[in-house]
């Protein structure tokens, strides 16, 4: 491409960061020095442009190294890839974990989203503002902190809801000297202040992440979580000692069609929210004559209140590697991508290490387990965008673009990642696949109900005694789940449950007897979504929570389509007016306005984000959650 770039303005550290991803000495044509033969011949064109998919890894390298994406650093990256600078800037400015203006080297992202909000996150943010000043993005333009070494920002859900009040620390600097990012939860004020002062802080003891595994005796019903707390997540041997890689062996014995047959028998439905039959999805890819096929594990779990995939990756990372390998085998794909949420540095490190261990032991690469099957996995890191969890947006993100979803059809099985036939599932669904192969499709289908087979992970958070990740066979009622978690904290009355995440709906105490199956929740107009069970007691300020949800959707909208881009703004404004007691016209006018917005967003948005952006708000309004909580003892 004929780019106009200024590769010369990059600092030494920036060059090193970019070269670290793309390989050392760049050629003359890619922004390097010219050697004798260079003026005579250059190969590039299609081959060079195909490096575009490395844009996000390069931007991460710059961000991690110098704390922001500078014009010089971006220019050097653009010359080397090659990518037009305007496009690269468009990508860099899309993701919340990248900064395109100078920023302190250490930034603490403080979660103030729905789950942490139930555990005092807003008070924490207020206190931080008093103690160390407002968040970075609320500084006046130009008056931003400049030389300060640290700063903080508010963050959407960090996926550590079971611990309550979570933070993520981004640290820029030389590799090896500073870690690049780390999560902390619970992170009370003292610890956040310590982190902001540049220290590590002393992490208070956390709760059990999987109470059923921590309990004595251990719950025998755990399937997807069966190794949690037993197997060493850093050890492949430990994984195999606890049954690991038996499913892949079984798959190789069954053959690709046999795997898909088992999946058909299991009636496994995807756990990502759309509840699509996994067998049908894989079969469509496996049978597509266009080659090569690709498989993707969606580990960009970002739905507020959701943390199940994180727990699986942190506690049992080889499970994900094995399952993705099975998926590649069944779908006839030589390569798989594992896209991990940028806010999950620990999970990413775990799966990256697991991939490396599997490769070194011949469980990736050519001739896996003595078969003729070869498979490679690339781990990709998100950069702070809820929308990247939408499958077509995720593809664009891996391809090096803005995570903008597109209309379907065409579906991924026809045209997915890099335009190839692609199968994509999330971590939990892949875990179920291993279970299907381990116990057989028929046995799997016998668990749960007729229409909802197998087990389901529930992310229980909010006002309960024992928040955490729970696994139950489908059919368990909402009330049973909450009771398993010790019931509402302090025995207070239940006011509502946010079921399925912020893209889900609020349900009231009358729903406690509803069986948590796909069909059961559909009957009450709700959905299981990502398995979120966020419990709200009678002290929770419903309107505040709904406004946080509205803010979330406005912040996370990709901005492509009008209903979502502007609709989420107007929705938030209407709620702000209601909260301020200054409705435009009557309160009923505002409700009418919200209803219209909800209909247009649901009907006319490109993707699920816009289509669900008003669900929680609408259900809250129906339930009367906008009203102030009844007065009661604190």
């Amino acid at each position: 491409m004929d780019l106009r770039v200024e590769p010369g303005h990059a600092s030494w550290a920036e060059r090193e960061a970019v070269d670290g991803v793309l390989g050392t000495v760049p050629a003359w044509a890619d922004g390097g020095e010219r050697t004798a033969g260079d003026g005579r011949m250059v190969e590039g064109g299609h081959a060079a442009r195909e490096r575009r998919h490395l844009l996000l890894p390069v931007l991460h390298a710059l961000q991690d190294r110098v704390g922001w994406i500078s014009p010089g650093g971006l220019g050097y990256a653009c010359a080397r890839l090659p990518v037009p600078p305007a496009e690269a800037f468009g990508v860099a400015s899309f993701y919340a974990l990248f900064a395109t203006v100078p920023r302190p080297a250490t930034v603490v992202h403080v979660c103030d989203d729905v789950a942490c909000r139930c555990r005092g996150a807003e008070a924490l943010c207020q206190e931080l503002t008093l103690r160390v000043g407002p968040p970075l993005d609320e500084h006046e333009e130009g008056a931003s902190p400049g030389p300060a070494a640290t700063g903080w920002v508010r963050s959407p859900c960090l996926g550590r809801c079971e611990q309550g009040s979570a933070v993520l620390v981004q640290r820029a600097g030389d590799p090896g000297v500073s870690g690049r990012a780390a999560s902390h939860a619970p992170a009370p004020l003292d610890q956040v202040l310590a982190l902001l002062a540049g220290g590590a802080g002393s992490a208070p003891a956390g709760r059990a992440v999987v109470p059923q595994a921590a309990a004595a005796p251990r719950d025998p019903g755990l399937r997807l979580l069966r190794r949690v707390g037993l197997a060493d997540p850093a050890s492949l041997d430990s994984y195999r000692a606890h049954g690991g890689y038996q499913a892949l062996r079984r798959a190789l014995a069954l053959g690709p069609r046999g795997v898909i047959r088992e999946l058909h028998e299991s009636r496994l439905l995807g756990r990502g929210g759309a509840a699509f039959p996994t067998a049908a999805k894989w079969e469509a890819v496996a049978q597509n004559p266009v080659q090569p096929h690709l498989v993707v594990c969606n580990a960009d779990e970002s739905e507020p209140g959701t943390f199940k995939d994180r727990v699986v990756m942190e506690a049992d990372p080889f499970q994900v590697v094995e399952a993705l390998t099975v998926m590649g085998y069944a779908c006839g794909a030589p390569r798989g991508y594992l896209y991990v949420r940028g806010e999950y540095p620990e999970a990413e490190a775990r799966v990256t290490a697991a991939v490396a261990a599997a490769r070194s032991r011949g469980l990736l690469g050519n001739g896996i387990l003595g078969s003729s099957f070869g498979f490679e996995i690339e781990v990709r890191r998100g950069a702070g965008a809820y929308i990247a969890g939408e499958e077509t947006a995720l593809f664009r993100s891996i391809e090096g673009g803005r995570a903008e979803p597109r209309n379907k059809p065409p579906f991924p099985a026809e045209s997915g990642l890099f335009g190839r036939p692609t199968a994509i599932n999330n971590v939990e669904t892949l875990g179920c696949v291993l279970e299907v192969l381990t116990i057989g499709g028929a046995a799997f289908a016998a668990i749960g109900t007729e229409a909802s087979t197998g087990t389901r992970l529930f992310c229980v958070s909010g006002c309960v005694e024992r928040p955490g990740l729970y696994e139950f066979a489908f059919g368990v009622t909402l009330g049973e789940v909450i009771r398993s978690a010790g019931g509402v904290e302090g025995g207070r009355p239940l006011r509502a449950v946010l079921l399925g995440g912020v893209a889900g709906t609020f349900v009231g105490p009358e729903a406690l007897d509803v069986p948590l199956t796909f069909e059961g929740v559909r009957a009450i107009g709700a959905s299981l979504g990502s398995g979120v069970v966020l419990v709200l007691d009678d002290t929770v300020d419903g309107l505040d929570l709904v406004r946080r949800i509205a803010r979330f959707f406005r912040d996370e909208s990709c901005g492509q389509c009008v209903p979502c881009r502007v609709g989420t703004v107007r929705q938030e404004e209407a709620l702000a007016r209601l909260a301020a007691g200054r409705p435009l016209g009557s309160a009923a006018d505002e409700t009418g306005r919200l209803d219209d917005l909800a209909q247009a967003m649901r009907d006319a948005s490109i993707c699920g984000l816009g289509q669900t952006a008003a669900l929680a708000v609408q259900s809250a309004a129906r339930m009367g959650l906008f009203a102030s909580p009844p007065p009661g003892p604190p």
Binding site: M1, D2, L3, W28, A29, R34, G37, D38, G39, R40, M41, V42, E43, G44, G45, H46, A47
Partner: protein
């Protein structure tokens, strides 16, 4: 090509081909909208090979760029041909059926090994081999070129060398395979179509040998057409030099600034007995004229047609009233004819065009009404039902020898380096070209403000700048064997050491053509603008070598 002077292919074919060779063309800047079509082809998967001494913005899109020595095109073409034959990749079925002279050609390129090609062009042998194989193996391939091929002393041979490659591989006469010379000006093709070449009548009918055609014109015009080949521009200048040409009528050209060896051109034009210039501007040439006839701008102030690089005839229309005393070219010419004693009447542009259609069979089907309705038609278009011709020479693929017609001849061409040799005194190769936002001598483009515009500079490789101890922006004296100019230097990494670049866009600032050589191609009359030997002197520094006599004042005009 093989008789009719036009590119073989349409733009749409470059979008649907498999391999695009862009040879001696920086189409990204000089033919931007053609490059759009080319990039559509690239986006659909076509490979792009660019052959250019500079790694131009066009070359930056290429899958393979070959940075050859200026003027070594024949050496490269012959080495490619030799490799194709040697590797057994020649399309012998096509060669046997549709061409002539293959054996002599094959024998002539036999010594042109990859190694020799590498020596003569400066490009690695492996790259030549890669290109040869890619071109021969492609199912469809378009070979496109511009002035990098034709502004040489051996321009015609350069073109013949490229045609040889198409014949060798059968990349001609099929949809998506062809030869595409991109025309530098909006109606160069139309000028040729209309017989504005020394040996042709309109429609490429031969002036000397086509008696029947002459008779048709004579009957229509009521005057004999002398069967005598005329002069092309360089021959005219030579004739002026000899004193054989004493009077000139220049329409819409600015030879005082656009000709190579500008000092000579000005001297010759000034020495004419009588010079008439018909133009829309008072150009430098017009300033030398005895009579200036103000004309209207053909593209915006008159009705008529022009022909594009895909042989497509399209209508130009009057959008503005011409200013002042400016008149339509047709009106001026008819008026002149009347004063000279021949009344042509006051024909409308359409009437003139209908006369062309009556006399030029390839244009016969192109009525104004059809041109309006279709957005243009590509010749040949022999009758009103003919849809126009997307690509030429399909006949070469006919099974029936009768329909196949005359075979297309291979040509034996030998590599000769540029006339202006590099020596220790003149060690740097200066080549010239256009930039995106300017055009030729700037007569038109100086009229608008472009944020892209840089004034003239001598562009050098950054290494050369360092070696010469120059800083960017410093003014230097640029000396060739014919003259010297002053210009600021600029580092441009698209140039390799030893290669320099200037444009012709700002002749009032830097008269680049004071430097260029007027060595011309005997067949086409094009001068070797692309290859000048220069040296660069720091200002104030004593000349270290003999200075050519009568050096023109820098930046001025004589």
């Amino acid at each position: 090509m093989f008789g009719a002077g036009g590119g073989t292919s349409s733009y749409q074919e470059v979008e649907e081909t498999d391999l695009i060779l862009l040879w001696g063309s920086n189409a990204r800047e000089t033919h931007p909208i053609f490059f759009h079509h080319l990039l559509q082809g690239v986006r659909r998967g076509a490979r792009l090979v660019v052959i250019d001494p500079r790694r131009t913005v066009s070359a930056q899109w290429a899958d393979l760029w070959l940075g050859i020595d200026v003027g070594s095109d024949i050496a490269l073409a012959n080495a490619i041909a030799r490799e194709i034959i040697d590797a057994g990749l020649a399309n012998h079925t096509f060669i046997e059926r549709a061409t002539s002279g293959f054996d002599a050609f094959a024998a002539s390129v036999e010594p042109c090994t990859l190694e020799r090609g590498a020596r003569d062009t400066g490009v690695p042998a492996a790259a030549i081999r890669q290109l040869a194989h890619a071109y021969a193996r492609a199912d469809r391939a378009q070979l496109c070129w511009t002035l990098g091929i034709t502004e040489h002393h051996n321009a015609t041979d350069n073109v013949l060398a490229l045609i040889n490659l198409a014949l060798l591989t059968g990349h001609v006469g099929r949809y998506g395979s062809g030869l595409v010379p991109l025309r530098g000006q909006n109606n160069v093709q139309g000028g040729g179509d209309m017989g504005a070449i020394p040996n042709k009548l309109p429609g490429f009918q031969d002036l000397e040998h086509d008696r029947a055609a002459r008779a048709r014109f004579a009957a229509r015009w009521g005057a004999e057409v002398p069967p005598r080949t005329g002069w092309h521009l360089s021959e005219m200048l030579d004739a002026m030099d000899r004193g054989d040409l004493t009077c000139a009528y220049v329409i819409g050209e600015n030879p005082a600034q656009s000709e190579a060896d500008q000092r000579r051109a000005i001297r010759l034009l000034s020495g004419l007995d009588h010079l008439v210039v018909q133009d829309i501007f008072l150009t430098r040439t017009a300033e030398l004229a005895d009579v200036v006839l103000p004309a209207s701008a053909t593209w915006a102030e008159t009705e008529g047609t022009v022909t594009s690089s895909e042989r497509r005839v399209q209508r130009v229309r009057r959008a503005l009233d011409p200013p002042g005393q400016a008149r339509d070219d047709i009106a001026i010419l008819c008026d002149l004819a009347r004063r000279l004693g021949h009344d042509l009447g006051e024909p409308s542009p359409e009437a003139v065009w209908d006369e062309v259609r009556a006399l030029s069979p390839m244009h016969a089907g192109m009525s104004y009404a059809r041109l309006e309705a279709s957005g243009g038609l590509a010749w040949p278009c022999p009758d009103l039902d003919h849809p126009g011709t997307l690509f030429l020479h399909a006949r070469l693929w006919e099974e029936d020898p009768a329909r196949r017609g005359e075979p297309a001849p291979f040509s034996v061409v030998a590599f000769e380096p540029p006339v202006d040799l590099l020596t220790d005194d003149f060690p740097i190769r200066l080549t010239t070209g256009r930039r995106l936002d300017s055009f030729n001598t700037g007569v038109q483009t100086s009229g608008y403000t472009s944020p892209l515009r840089r004034r003239e500079s001598l562009d050098l490789a950054p290494e050369d700048l360092r070696q010469l101890g120059l800083t960017e922006g410093e003014r230097v004296r640029v000396v060739s064997r014919r003259g010297a100019v002053e210009a600021p230097v600029r580092a441009d990494p698209i140039l390799r050491p030893g290669l320099a670049f200037m444009t012709l866009h700002f002749p009032d600032q830097v008269a680049t053509n004071v430097l260029t050589i007027d060595a011309t191609d005997p067949k086409s009359g094009t001068a070797e603008f692309k290859a000048t030997a220069i040296r660069v002197e720091r200002l104030g520094e004593a000349a270290t070598a003999p200075v050519p006599e009568a050096v023109a004042p820098a930046g001025g005009r004589t």
